[in-house]
């Protein structure tokens, strides 16, 4: 397994995330409804709004998963935040970076993964909107565009939060 790489600007990235004052806050309908919509739209058992903290990925919104966080090292989203656009793993069992990852071989059995990076206006990527299935999948061009749109709508909400905080 390839542990999620740490970007060279991680300290600044983490500072940008923490400035949002969003980590460990209660669920909010405006984020939950995007996760619910994504799960239904793509017929996925799991849809998450994840934020990548120093040693964990924490879920601001989640559908189909009981835990509120997992380790950063095993996270797919930890890889996705280093990508310029949507990160797709059609079948994790066939990808040497993930095949023996404990969240692939055990619960929640991540086989298909698609993560759209949440890149703030500052340029720092704080997390992802991600979709997970227990079987191999592909996304076509329209589905990729829909996932990008949902990510953009989430970014609008996050920016509103940042502007409100700055008052």
């Amino acid at each position: 397994m390839l542990a999620a790489p740490i970007p060279s600007n991680d300290a600044e990235r983490l500072a940008a995330l923490r400035e949002l004052l969003i980590l460990d806050t209660p669920p909010e309908e405006r984020f939950d409804k995007v996760a619910r919509f994504a799960a239904q739209e793509f017929d996925m058992p799991i849809a998450l709004v994840t934020l990548i903290d120093e040693n964990r990925q924490w879920f601001k919104a989640r559908v189909g998963l009981d835990v509120c966080e997992t380790g950063r090292d095993v996270s797919f989203c930890g890889h996705a935040i280093l990508q310029p656009d949507i990160f797709i793993i059609p079948d994790a069992r066939a990808d040497e970076r993930f095949a023996d990852n404990p969240i692939v071989t055990g619960p929640p059995h991540v086989i298909f993964y698609a993560g759209a990076p949440l890149t703030m206006p500052s340029g720092f990527t704080i997390g992802t909107l991600c979709l997970i299935d227990h079987q191999p999948r592909e996304l076509d061009a329209t589905e990729m565009a829909i996932l990008s749109t949902l990510r953009d709508l989430l970014l609008e909400e996050l920016n509103n939060r940042e502007e409100a905080r700055r008052g």
Binding site: V34, A141, T142, E143, A145, I146, S148, T149, D152, L153
Partner: protein, 150 residues
């Protein structure tokens, strides 16, 4: 609503659910399908239909209906009767929770090209708008052919 060209279609989406509406409208733009104008209720849809010409429409026919009715075909009638700024024969698809034989008969009479049932997905609506674009191109080609033969 700007001047329409075969490459830039103006289409109408009447749907109460904001997230679905916004997702379809923004994604249509990013895919280059054209501009999807949004109406969240009957009155704003009526106003848009009166003021602007559209190349096609997807209409949730249970949008804002009175409690004892299950659907409202007033917007379809407005278009088909020529009481809108659009060509009366524009393609129209409808969205509805569930269809009944009476409803389907009423929709057939109004030349509805597609009935979309729940669960409503952005992809299905986008595919529908994409078929409108194809129909519009085919119609434009047919009109050119007819002009050449006259």
């Amino acid at each position: 609503v700007g001047e329409a060209t075969p490459k830039h279609l103006n289409m109408l989406l009447v749907e109460e659910q904001t997230l679905l509406r916004r997702t379809v409208s923004l994604t249509a733009r990013s895919l280059g399908l054209g501009t999807v104008h949004e109406a969240a209720n009957m009155s704003s849809a009526e106003r848009l239909l009166r003021d602007h010409a559209f190349h096609g429409a997807v209409i949730a026919i249970d949008c804002g209906v009175a409690e004892r009715y299950s659907y409202n075909l007033a917007l379809l009638d407005q278009v088909r009767a020529g009481m809108s700024a659009s060509v009366p024969t524009i393609p129209i698809a409808v969205m509805v929770d569930h269809a009944t034989p009476d409803m389907l008969e009423a929709l057939r009479k109004r030349q509805v090209s597609r009935v979309i049932l729940k669960p409503f997905r952005a992809k299905v609506l986008l595919d529908t708008f994409a078929t409108f674009a194809v129909l519009d191109s085919a119609g434009a080609a047919g009109r050119k052919d007819r002009q050449r033969t006259v």
